[in-house]
């Protein structure tokens, strides 16, 4: 990759790791308030994901993460609330890395749904992420399974997103 880039001296310089420009602050419009973890209880997560022994390991102002036994070795489930961050960037990341990303509307709000399909047909769609925009904010539910059997990851992601939107104020 480096020699290819080196051959193009007139190409755009690569960006710095830390964004160096101050963000434009004009007319930023935030969305609704989401309660902690999108208002989703540990019990609801356990019931919908059908994974026992989940631990809420990162309850923060920007979301929550549930891991099996509290460890990253296993399925990952998370809620994230982005406040003043472009949903387009998150979607682009998924478009470059996932099997497919499509538009979705949940409870009247637009966003994307991305899946990853394991090459092994016995595993199938093991990851589904739903992002929904609220003005300059967005929320994202990420459902990632490790080993089958597991329920339809997108049905889990969509239901958690729906409940979070209903819980917003």
């Amino acid at each position: 990759m480096i020699p290819v880039l080196g051959a193009c001296s007139d190409s755009e310089p690569t960006g710095p790791v830390v964004p160096s420009t101050e963000a434009p602050q004009q007319s930023v419009s935030h969305g609704p308030f989401f309660p902690e973890c999108g208002g989703i209880s540990d019990e609801t997560i356990a019931q919908l994901t059908e994974v026992p022994g989940l631990v809420n390991t990162a309850k923060t102002s920007v979301g929550c993460q549930w891991l099996s036994g509290g460890s990253i070795l296993g399925p990952h489930f998370s809620f994230s609330w982005f406040r003043g961050s472009p949903i387009g960037r998150e979607r682009k990341t998924m478009e470059l890395s996932r099997t497919s990303v499509e538009d979705i509307n949940i409870e009247g709000h637009d966003g994307f749904i991305g899946i990853n399909e394991d090459p092994d047909p016995k595993i199938g769609v093991n990851l589904c992420e739903v992002g929904i925009q609220f003005n300059d904010d967005f929320i994202e539910w990420s459902i990632s399974y490790a080993q089958p059997p597991f329920p339809d990851a997108c049905e889990v992601a969509k239901e958690l997103t729906r409940q979070s939107i209903v819980n917003s104020k």
Partner: protein, 181 residues
């Protein structure tokens, strides 16, 4: 987005760079940024030179060291404008969260922290206006947000009590703000 299959993302990005590295022509019609019907917040066509690099402001070694873990005992679980890691302090696992909201603001973060009923302490970190937030967590979870390039924040969530999570989060913020010098 969750970290699993990120290797694929990097490979996809690498091949994208290889394919477009020397090309100067792009098909399509030029349009001014922000024009058209697409809301500016949902424009996937926009250039994102820092895609997938947002989590690399501090190296994983520094993250691990700051929360008292072996540099080999840390793993990323989520990447993007919100990044998550888990590190193994000998006393117990520690989750680390970083956020960077480029059009966010410290005031909006404080307003959310107030609505979440966190204990809030305004303070300066490396000369930058900031606040520390503490939920009522038995393991002492602690977050810090600073007024920098929008708003930047760190959270440290230990899975066992007895760690200085606020001290760790503030240290991570000091290191982050130092990289902007």
């Amino acid at each position: 987005m969750t970290r699993r299959v990120l290797t694929g993302a990097i490979a996809a990005l690498a091949s994208l760079v290889m394919l477009t590295g020397c090309s100067q022509t792009v098909a399509g019609t030029a349009a001014k940024s922000g024009s058209g019907d697409v809301p500016r917040n949902d424009n996937s066509e926009r250039k994102y030179p820092n895609l997938l690099k947002e989590c690399e402001v501090l190296t994983e070694d520094i993250l691990a060291e700051t929360v008292g873990a072996d540099p080999l005992d840390i793993q990323s679980t989520f990447v993007g404008a919100i990044c998550r890691w888990q590190a193994a302090n000998p006393a117990g696992l520690v989750d680390i969260t970083r956020f960077w909201f480029e059009t966010g603001s410290l005031d909006n973060e404080r307003s959310v922290a107030e609505q979440l009923e966190y204990q809030i302490e305004n303070r300066s970190v490396a000369g930058i206006q900031s606040f520390v937030m503490r939920p009522n967590d038995p393991n002492g979870a602690c977050g810090v947000a600073s007024d920098a390039a929008g708003v930047v924040g760190w959270w440290v969530n230990p899975q066992t009590p007895g760690m200085d999570a606020c001290g760790m989060a503030i240290k991570l913020m000091e290191l982050t703000l130092a990289t902007r010098a």
